[in-house]
Symmetry: C2
Subunit: 323 residues, 2 copies
C-alpha cells in the first residue's frame, strides 16, 4: 500500500509505530508542507522532554548522544534524535554521525534518527528544527535529543530552544574560556567534561565551576558539571541523571518553569516564521521587472538607494511599513 | 560656531575640507539620519575608487593599508579609510588599527580614518558601510579603502561590494587552501602574499596561481598575485600598481565593467535596506500586546505557530504578504 500524503493519516500511522510514515512527515515538516504538518501535529505535542547538545566539533557530542540513546533504550523508552548541521547543505558531520548511530541502532524500532542540514539562506533551520521536534513529540517519542555540529551562532540559537541544554567540553586549558566566549555559560543546564580520561579534567571542572560562581545572574538552577568518557560509556548514567534532574526541576510546582522556557521557544519560532515570510517577500519584490529600472536610476545618480527602497516597498503594497 | 546638523550644509563643509563636518556626517550616515544623508550625498558620489581588503586576522591587513595610505599621500592624493569589525560592538581590533594609523597620519588633513563596529542584530553593517563609502566619496576622497578584521561571511559580503578586492595571505602551507574555503578565490582581484620575507612564500604564490588556473569560471581579468613585506614597505608600490591596473581595467571601453560591479553593489544595498525595514517590522509586530495572547494559545495547544504567524501578519495589516 503506497504511503499517504495526508499529514493526519501519516501522523496516525507514525504514532502506531510506522517508521516510513514518520520519515515522510518529517520531510514534509521541513518543506512547503510545514504549516499543514504543524497544524496536525501541534495538538498532539508538548509531552516530550527536549534536550539540546552543543560543544566544539570533536568534543564527542555524537558519541555521547549515542551512549545516551543506548541507555534510554535499555530502560525501554523510545527516543528521537535530530542531528543538525547549519554549516553546510552537504553535511559530512551530520551524515557521518548518522551512520555511526545507524550501526548501533539501525535495527532498533525504538530509535528514530534524522539529519537536518542547512538549506541555504531562505530555508532556515531556525524554523525547521522546532517543527521537526514537534513531529517527533507528536509521534510519541518521550525524549527528543537535538545535536548540533559546532558552537556557531545558529547552532546556539537552535540548541537553546531545548528544555534542557547540555554543553560538552573537553579537558584542557582554555576550553571553559572558549565555551564562555561562545555564550555557552549562559545557556547550559548541564556541563559534560567528556574525554575525562585525559589530563586536565580537574582543572576544566574547576574552571567551569569558577565561572559559574562568578556569573552575575544567579538562577535557581545551578548547572551541574559531570565527567564522562563517552567512548567507553563511563559517566553516561550520571549525565542522564543530571539531565533528568533538570527536567524534574522544570516540572516542579506545576511546571511554570517549563512553561516559561517553552514560551520563549514558541515566541522565537513565531518570530522566525514571520521573518522568513518577509524575507521571501523581499526576494520576490527584488526579482520584479521594476527593480532593474530603479537600480539604473541609482547608478545615474537620479535617486538614492534609500528613496528607492521606500519606493519599492510602496509599490509592493506594503506602504504601512513606512509609517 | 557650532556645527550644523543639516546634511547639505555638513557636506558642503566636508567638501571644503572640514574634518569635523565629515565626522558628523559619517555618524549621521550610520544612524537614524541615514536616509537624509544619502539623499544629499548620493548625487555627489560615484567618483571614488573603492578598494576592499580582507584576509585572516593577523595577516597584516592594517599594516598594508597603512603603507598604502602613506604611498597615496606621498603622491598628493587624499584617501578615506573604513576599518570595519562586524564581530563585536566593542571592537579591539578596529580601534587598535585606528590608533596605529592615527600615530602615522594623525596630523595629515588628507587622510580620514573611520572605525565601524557591529551595532547588534538590527543595525546592520551591510547597509551602513555603503552609506559611509558614499559620504567619503561625496566628500571628495578619490580613494576609499575598506578594511575588515577577518574573513567571516559578513566581512566577505562587505568587501565584495568594493570596486577592487584585495585578499591578503601569508606564506605557509594551507593559507591558499583556507582562502579558497572562505570563498576568497572568487572575489579577489589582487592577491597580496604579505610577510614575504618568511619561508614558503614561493609555495603560496604557486598554490594561488594553481587554484586560479583550475578556476572553472575564466573571466577577462586574471587576478594578480603580488608579494609584500608591509611592515618595512617592501612591495607596497607593486600592490598599489596592481590595484590601479584593476581600476583601469574596470574603466576601459567606457566603464561598462565598473558599472556592472556597482550595479551589483547598489542592488545589494537596496535589498539590505528593505530587509532591515522588514526586520524592524517583525520586531514591532512581536512587541505588540496581542502577541503574548497568541503565544498562550500556542502553549495551550489551541493554535499552532504557523497559524499564529499568519494571523499576526494579518493583524499587522500585511495580509498581501500571505497571497
Amino acid at each position: 500500500m503506497p504511503l499517504s500524503t495526508d499529514p493526519a493519516e501519516l501522523l496516525h500511522a507514525a504514532r502506531a509505530g510506522h517508521r516510513g510514515a514518520l520519515a515522510r512527515l518529517l520531510s514534509m515538516a521541513e518543506g512547503t508542507k510545514a504549516a499543514s504538518v504543524a497544524s496536525v501535529a501541534h495538538s498532539f505535542s508538548g509531552s516530550a522532554h527536549v534536550v539540546g547538545f552543543t560543544g566544539a566539533p570533536g568534543s564527542g557530542k555524537s558519541t555521547l548522544v549515542n551512549g545516551l540513546v543506548s541507555l534510554i533504550r535499555s530502560r525501554g523508552e523510545e527516543v528521537g534524535v535530530l542531528a543538525v548541521d547549519p554549516s553546510s547543505p552537504f553535511s559530512g558531520g551530520a551524515i557521518l554521525g548518522d551512520r555511526v548511530r545507524m550501526q548501533t541502532h539501525a535495527l532498533d524500532e525504538g530509535v528514530f534518527v534524522r539529519s537536518m542540514a542547512s538549506r541555504g539562506a531562505l530555508g532556515g533551520l531556525a524554523a525547521a528544527v522546532p517543527n521537526a521536534v514537534r513531529v517527533l513529540d507528536a509521534a510519541g517519542k518521550p525524549h527528543v535529543l537535538i545535536e548540533t555540529v559546532g558552537v556557531g551562532q545558529v547552532e546556539v540559537e537552535i540548541v537553546e530552544t531545548a528544555d534542557t541544554v547540555v554543553v560538552v567540553l573537553n579537558p584542557g586549558w582554555g576550553d571553559a574560556v572558549q565555551a564562555s566566549k561562545a555564550g555557552l555559560m549562559e545557556i547550559a543546564d548541564v556541563f559534560v567534561v567528556n574525554k575525562a580520561d585525559r589530563d586536565g579534567v580537574e582543572e576544566t571542572v574547576h574552571d567551569v565551576n569558577s565561572m559559574l560562581d562568578m556569573a552575575v545572574t544567579q538562577t535557581e538552577w545551578r548547572p551541574r558539571v559531570t565527567r564522562a568518557v563517552a567512548s567507553d560509556g563511563t559517566g553516561i548514567e550520571e549525565v542522564w541523571e543530571s539531565v533528568c534532574a533538570h527536567h524534574a526541576f522544570l516540572l516542579e510546582g506545576g511546571g511554570h518553569r517549563l512553561r516559561t522556557r517553552r514560551r520563549a521557544r514558541v515566541s522565537d519560532e513565531v518570530r522566525e516564521l514571520i521573518r522568513e515570510r518577509l524575507v521571501r517577500v523581499v526576494r520576490d519584490i527584488c526579482a520584479g521587472p521594476g527593480f532593474d529600472v530603479c537600480i539604473d536610476e541609482i547608478l545615474s545618480l537620479e535617486r538614492d538607494p534609500y528613496a528607492v527602497s521606500d519606493c519599492v516597498i510602496h509599490d509592493a503594497g506594503l506602504s504601512d511599513l513606512l509609517s
